[in-house]
Symmetry: C2
Subunit: 335 residues, 2 copies
C-alpha cells in the first residue's frame, strides 16, 4: 500500500480529541505531509492545522483525503459520506483506517470508480503475500516489542526514526498497523493478514537493504498476550531483528482486554531473545521504552534509573525524555 | 463448518495415489462415513472403496460430494466441473479442500444456488471469530506439536482419538487443517484465519466441556518454523493444552520449504512448556510420536527406545506401533 502525499485530514464530527488520534499522530510525525484539516459542524477535535475547504486543500496540492478519526465500531458515519463524496469529486484519493471498507458504501465505491481515484482501507491488506522464508537479508532491523498492547511500540519506532535521521543515520519506520501505515504512507496492517502469511508479509515489508540501513519495524501485541501472541511471533520471525526495544507501561497489572497478568520486562527480553535467535542469532536487546505518563517527574526518573540498572540497558520514556540513549546504543552496534 | 455425512469421494483424474491423500485419509479414519468413490477415465488413484455412479451413491444415502484430491496449485480442474455439476443436480452438498473456492467457478455457484445445496471450501473459514481471551475452560485438552510441518500431527491426534475411545475415554479430535476438517466433519483451517483471530478461533473450536472430556487438537507448523510459527503459537495459546505430544521425523535435517535446521525434540518440549504456561500452568509433555517410515524395524525400535529414555517420556510411532503408551500416560493424568 502506497499513499500519495500531501494529505488533507478529515476529522468528521467526532466528540473528543481521542477520536482524532490518527489525525494527531499524522500532525505530530508528518506535519509536512498535512496541508490542513476539515471539520464538520459540532466537531470537538482540533489538530491545530488550518481549516480548509476541499477546494482550498486541492489548491495547496493535497492528494489524499484521510479519514483520520475512529469511532466505536469503526464504521463510516452516514454524516461523513457527503463530504467524502465531495473529496472524490475533487479528485482526491481517500484513505481510511476504519474497520468498514470505504468500498462497502455503494455511493463511495461508485463515485471513486467514475472519478478514477483510489480508495485505501489501510486496515486491510491490498495484496497477497508468500510464506516467510527465514533467509537472512542484508541491512539492519530493529523491532519494538511489548509487555502488552498499547504501550508505545509505534511511538518508539517513530521516535527512533526521527532521532536516527537527525544524526544522519539511514533509517526507515516500517508500519504494521493502520495508523502507522497512514503515518509512513506505506506498510501492512499485519493483524489483518491471513495467518499463514504473517512472517511473509513482514519479509516483504522490510526487504534486503544496504548494510548500514536500519528498518525500524513497528511491533504489535506481545508474545505473552493470549489474543495476539501469534501475530507477535510471526512479526518477530519475519522481521529477523538485529536489535529490539521492549516497550512497557509500569502501572498496568493485566493485559489489555484479558485477565492475564502483564509479564515482566525480563520475561519479554528473555523470550524475545530465545525465539528471535531462530532467524537471527545476533539478536540483542538495545533498550527499554517506558510510558511513564501516569508517574510524576521524580517517580518517572527513579523508575527509569532503576530499570536501566536492573537490565543493564538504556531505559527512557520516548515522549518525556526522547530516545537518545537507545540510539547511542544502536550507533555503537552499527560500527 | 459442519459437513453432512455420508460422503461420496470424488477422485477426478489424478495421476497418482499421493494426489488422492485426502480420500485415503477419509477411508482410513472414517470408512463408515464413505459410501464409495467416483473416478474419471484415466484416474490412477484408488481408495479400494466401491466405484459408484452419482445415482448409486445418492441411493446409498450419501449427502456430501467430497472433492478428495489435490493438485499442484490447488485449482478446480475443468475436467472435474461437469461431474461436480451433476452431483449438485442430484442434491449433494459439495466439499473441497482445494485453494480455489468452489463458488469461484460461476457454473458451480449458480447451480448450487438454484438447487439449494451447500458448497464447503474447508480451507477457508466460513465464519468470523472473536479474539482469544485466554480464560481457563473446563475439560481437558491435548495439542500435537511438531519439530516441523508434515511430521504426523494430524495422524497422531486421530490415532489418540481412536485409541482413547476404544478404552472408553471421552475424546474428540479437533481439526485445524482442511484434511482434518473433512475427516472430522467440522473444524477450522486455522492457517486461513485472519491473524488477529488465531487463538480466538481455537477457543471457539475447543469450547468448555465436561471435566473428563479430552479434546485432541490437531497442531500446525512448529514454533521453530519461520513461515508458520505465528500460527503455531496462536494455536498453543488458544488450545491452552493440559498435555502435548511432540511429533518428529528423525531423518529430516532442514524444515519444510526453508533452510532452517529442524529443532531438537528437547527444544520443542522446552519452548512449548515455557510458552504454554501462559494459558495453562499445568501444561506437560505426555509423549513423543515419531514417524519412523524411513528406518527399518530394528532401527525404529532402537530410536524409540533411546528417545523414550532420553526424555523420560513414552515414545512411539503411531503408524507402526500405535499410541498405546501415550494413552497410558494420559489415563494416569486423568485420575
Amino acid at each position: 500500500m502506497e499513499l500519495k502525499q500531501p494529505y488533507f485530514l478529515f476529522l468528521g464530527d467526532v466528540q473528543d480529541q481521542l477520536a482524532a488520534k490518527v489525525a494527531h499522530g499524522l500532525v505530530e510525525w508528518r506535519r509536512d505531509w498535512c496541508v490542513g484539516q476539515l471539520r464538520l459542524p459540532g466537531c470537538q477535535a482540533d489538530t491545530g492545522m488550518p481549516d480548509l475547504t476541499i477546494r482550498e486543500a486541492a489548491d495547496r496540492g493535497a492528494r489524499t483525503f484521510v479519514v483520520a478519526v475512529a469511532n466505536a465500531g469503526g464504521f463510516i458515519a452516514p454524516s461523513w459520506v457527503p463530504t467524502i463524496l465531495e473529496a472524490i469529486e475533487a479528485g482526491f484519493d481517500v484513505a481510511s483506517g476504519l474497520h468498514t471498507r470505504l468500498s462497502s458504501v455503494p455511493e463511495i465505491a461508485a463515485r471513486a470508480a467514475e472519478r478514477g481515484v483510489a480508495l485505501h482501507d489501510v486496515r486491510h491488506a491490498e495484496r497477497t503475500f508468500g510464506t516467510g522464508k527465514g533467509t537472512i537479508r542484508s541491512g539492519r532491523r530493529l523491532l519494538t516489542v511489548g509487555t502488552d498492547c498499547s504501550v508505545g511500540k509505534k511511538y518508539t519506532a517513530l521516535a527512533l526514526e526521527q532521532e536516527m535521521r537527525r544524526r544522519g543515520m539511514d533509517a526507515d519506520f516500517r508500519a504494521t498497523g493502520q495508523t502507522g501505515v497512514l503515518i509512513s504512507g506505506r506498510g501492512v496492517a499485519i493483524d489483518a493478514v491471513v495467518a499463514d502469511f504473517i512472517s511473509g508479509a513482514v519479509e516483504w515489508l522490510s526487504p534486503a537493504a544496504d548494510e548500514d540501513h536500519w528498518d525500524l519495524v513497528e511491533g504489535q501485541g506481545s508474545l505473552f498476550h493470549p489474543s495476539f501472541s501469534g501475530v507477535s511471533l510471526g512479526l518477530l520471525h519475519g522481521a529477523q531483528p538485529d536489535a529490539f526495544v521492549v516497550c512497557h507501561e509500569p502501572t498496568r497489572r493485566t493485559m489489555r482486554g484479558v485477565q492475564t497478568p502483564v509479564p515482566s520486562i525480563a520475561d519479554v527480553v528473555d523470550m524475545t531473545l530465545r525465539l528471535g535467535r531462530l532467524v537471527n542469532p545476533a539478536i540483542r536487546c538495545c533498550g527499554i521504552a517506558v510510558n511513564t505518563e501516569k508517574l510524576d517527574d521524580a517517580a518517572a526518573r527513579a523508575y527509569l534509573r532503576r530499570t536501566a540498572q536492573e537490565h543493564a540497558l538504556p531505559a527512557t520514556d520516548p515522549i518525556r525524555f526522547g530516545v537518545g540513549p537507545i540510539v547511542d546504543r544502536l550507533a555503537d552496534l552499527s560500527i
